[in-house]
């Protein structure tokens, strides 16, 4: 079944540290008052302009095999290809903050209010990620009762465009999930419109299946540490 999810704004307001970090501000750095004011203004604008909405649909391992394959452009092997066959259940998802927030960012730049524009952009990026995180937690809650020992289950999301899963897989993901229902469309270049949108699959299975060595071909030129942090967090949970 396809579920359309409206978020509680309070759940997706971006963390202030993250908004600053997205702009290269070192955590704990002493900030001038005017930078703090910009940050607060961006948070207020986020609250009034973001229209967060998501869509989620469970998918079988068999169906996902084809979605994952996409246009046949994935690396071989990839972490996701090794993980999903061992899953207990999974769901496709897409979330967006809507167009208004991107329009406001644009307006700020056009009015030469660059710092305001950049602060809101960084906030919207963090907010979109946060919405994806909430989606994952919702799925987690939804499936918890299906398991006798849910503590042993790890629920983690993966997105096309990351870790060797080619972004062109978006086409089949869209075909199955239908994010058009919540206003997200896919361009020929596989870019989602509105910009502040995230798509992917949430995979639930024994915690160990999500642990991998970062020696896949896609890891060679990647300096993103998020996967390592996520694996560590899962181990500690």
């Amino acid at each position: 079944m396809t579920e359309i999810i409206k978020f509680d704004m309070n759940d997706i307001i971006p963390g202030r540290e993250e908004v600053l970090r997205n702009q290269g501000v070192i955590p704990g750095a002493v900030l001038e008052d005017k930078i703090r004011d910009l940050l607060e203004q961006a948070i207020r604008e986020f609250q009034s302009l973001a229209e967060p909405v998501g869509v989620m649909k469970e998918v079988s391992i068999g169906d996902f095999k084809d979605i994952y394959k996409g246009e046949g452009r994935n690396d071989e092997p990839t972490p996701v290809a090794d993980i999903f066959p061992k899953a207990d259940c999974m769901a496709l998802f897409a979330v967006t903050l809507g167009q208004k927030i991107s329009d406001k960012i644009d307006q700020h730049f056009k009015a030469n209010n660059f710092a305001e524009g950049c602060m809101l952009d960084a906030g919207a990026s963090a907010g979109a990620d946060q919405a994806a995180e909430i989606m994952q937690r919702m799925y987690e809650q939804e499936i918890a009762e299906r398991f006798d020992d849910f503590d042993a289950i790890g629920v983690v999301r993966y997105s096309p465009g990351y870790c060797g899963w080619h972004i062109s897989a978006q086409k089949k993901l869209f075909g199955f999930l239908g994010p058009e229902k919540i206003g997200i469309t896919l361009r020929e270049t596989y870019l989602m419109d509105p910009l502040k949108s995230v798509s992917g699959v949430i995979i639930a299975g024994p915690k160990e299946i999500h642990q991998f060595e970062n020696n896949y071909p896609c890891c060679e030129n990647c300096d993103d540490q998020t996967c390592l942090e996520r694996m560590q967090a899962l181990k500690n949970a």
Binding site: K34, N113, C118, D121, R187, E188
Partner: protein, 212 residues
């Protein structure tokens, strides 16, 4: 304090109202426009750039300073046109066709303007035709392209191919940037250079126009 120094210092503080006020005053005092630009506005922006490079200030402060620079530039630009004062170079920039992402490109444009370049910003989702036409119409020194995804960055090659067939490749420099792009890709498609960020783009383009 010398008014040009005051302009530079107010700019560094990101005080756009004061920069506008002082720039008007400098114009009234008949200080040559080029001097206001070089010793007031650009001088201030250079300090900001150095501070940023050495991580003593962060992006939001640079952007506040840039707004102040634009406030001054808005006042002297008509006079520069009237007096035929050239900028240090002209760059056409845009985000490639199929791509909506333009924050990175905007930041590069801001840095270039801050360094004294004239920037023609075509926005996002820009077709090869528009890049090439603008480069020709504006008699640009360089074309700068930005992309967000591996699937959109391939469009950069189309722009270069069109530049070749229009006979402007090699005469107008090509610089590219964006998250999925790197030096090898730039070489592969025949771009003159790749810039990791706006500061690097300024550095590279300054070298180009110096050699011209």
């Amino acid at each position: 304090m010398d008014i040009l120094k005051q302009i530079s210092e107010s700019l560094q503080k990101g005080d756009h109202e004061k920069v506008a006020m002082l720039t008007s005053q400098a114009i009234e005092e008949k200080i040559p426009v080029k001097k206001i630009l070089d010793e007031g506005l650009i001088a201030g922006m250079n300090v900001v750039g150095e501070e940023f490079k050495h991580h003593r200030i962060f992006l939001p402060s640079v952007l506040l300073a840039a707004r102040a620079m634009y406030a001054g530039m808005d006042l002297i630009k008509p006079l520069m046109i009237r007096d035929n004062i050239p900028t240090i170079g002209k760059v056409v920039i845009g985000t490639i066709k199929g791509d909506l992402h333009d924050i990175g490109k905007n930041l590069v444009g801001i840095m270039l303007k801050g360094a004294g370049f004239e920037v023609i910003d075509l926005g996002n989702d820009v077709t090869p035709d528009r890049f090439v036409q603008a480069a020709k119409d504006e008699k640009a020194d360089a074309v700068g392209m930005s992309a967000l995804l591996t699937t959109t960055m391939t469009g950069m090659k189309d722009v270069i191919e069109l530049m070749k067939s229009e006979g402007i490749y090699g005469k107008i420099k090509v610089i590219i940037g964006g998250a999925p792009v790197n030096r090898e890709f730039a070489e592969q498609i025949g771009a003159d250079s790749y810039a990791y960020d706006g500061m690097k783009a300024v550095e590279i383009l300054k070298e180009y126009v110096k050699d011209k």
